[in-house]
Symmetry: C2
Subunit: 164 residues, 2 copies
DNA sequence: CCGATTTACTCGACGCGTAAACTATTGATG
DNA sequence: CATCAATAGTTTACGCGTCGAGTAAATCGG
């Protein structure tokens, strides 16, 4: 039954080539389903996931950040940032500040409206978190976290500690 | 200790709100890192992930499929299919066949070139699968699969039909 | 001080996911 | 047969990730 379910969902013909493949397809599939829920929630609050992430980073940092700093934390490639900031600025949720020391840098700051928008998302988001994975036992959650971290460590193990 | 690492990567300020949040962020983050590798591999073969998935579905099924049938297996919303098929057709990897019985239906068939393109990806993809998660013990892989399925089942299971 | 390089960011183009509205064909109903 | 609803697929519009190329400000060699 472990393999029958995903195979049916994806519409594959034969068995999985390997347990690695089954695992990765499960991971991708799970992500997709979760993502759909997050997208919906953010949309209800007039935000996209990318916009939410930027606001979240700015709030977390507590000070304006350069565009490139934001980009590096998003794992997103640089050029996309401009448009994202454009839209957030048009929504009045962030503002651009030109740097004094280095005038090449443009700092992005979250506005009051941005803070409020974010605050409105906090509680529904917590509820969604519980809805999505709250049915896993605490021990299962820890184990899942451990396995995911181990999976990721396989790739960047040696590089993990060179912090950013 | 398991929480220090992701927090540093994402650039969060405080601790996680909950283990649910930590779990979900780990999942999203893991997916992103894996996805980067898949995208690269497919690009080396002149394909995008979406294009690969369509070819894979067609090969797996072994017969032409209607557009909507493909869309339903991709978890992708319908309209995107048109453009995907357009590009695959332009690349000569699939072709459209008008249905005899029902002339509304357009069947999509994989071509010889499509089969060959796909065959060229098979082995590198298997290698990538092993590289990405091959360092997990077989037991860990099974457990991870089980936990991911359980995580997904929380959503699908009872609530699948009331589909908000 | 002038020109070349570097840094930080922007612009244009393409692929794709999503939603809303449209066309074409089919099947049911009168 | 005429018409209307449902179905298959497309078009259009927008947001976003990605790539390649471009611009403005700082920095460095002369």
């Amino acid at each position: 039954m472990g393999e029958g379910r995903l195979r049916k969902e994806i519409g594959k013909r034969g068995a999985f080539d390997s347990s690695e493949e089954e695992l990765l397809l499960n991971l991708l599939r799970t992500h997709d389903q979760l993502q759909i829920r997050f997208v919906r929630l953010f949309r209800e609050h007039g935000l996209t996931p990318a916009q939410y992430n930027i606001l979240r980073i700015l709030r977390g940092e507590g000070r304006p950040l350069p565009c490139l700093e934001i980009a590096s934390r998003l794992l997103t490639i640089v050029p996309g940032i401009t448009g994202l900031i454009d839209r957030l600025e048009a929504l009045g949720l962030v503002m651009r500040l030109r740097g004094d020391a280095d005038r090449r840098v443009i700092y992005v700051a979250i506005t009051e409206a941005g803070q409020e928008r974010l605050a409105g998302v906090d509680e529904p988001l917590r509820r969604l978190h519980r809805e999505l994975v709250g049915h896993l036992e605490p021990g299962e959650q820890r184990e899942l976290i451990r396995l995911l971290e181990k999976a990721r460590a396989g790739r960047d193990a040696g590089a993990a500690d060179h912090d950013e």
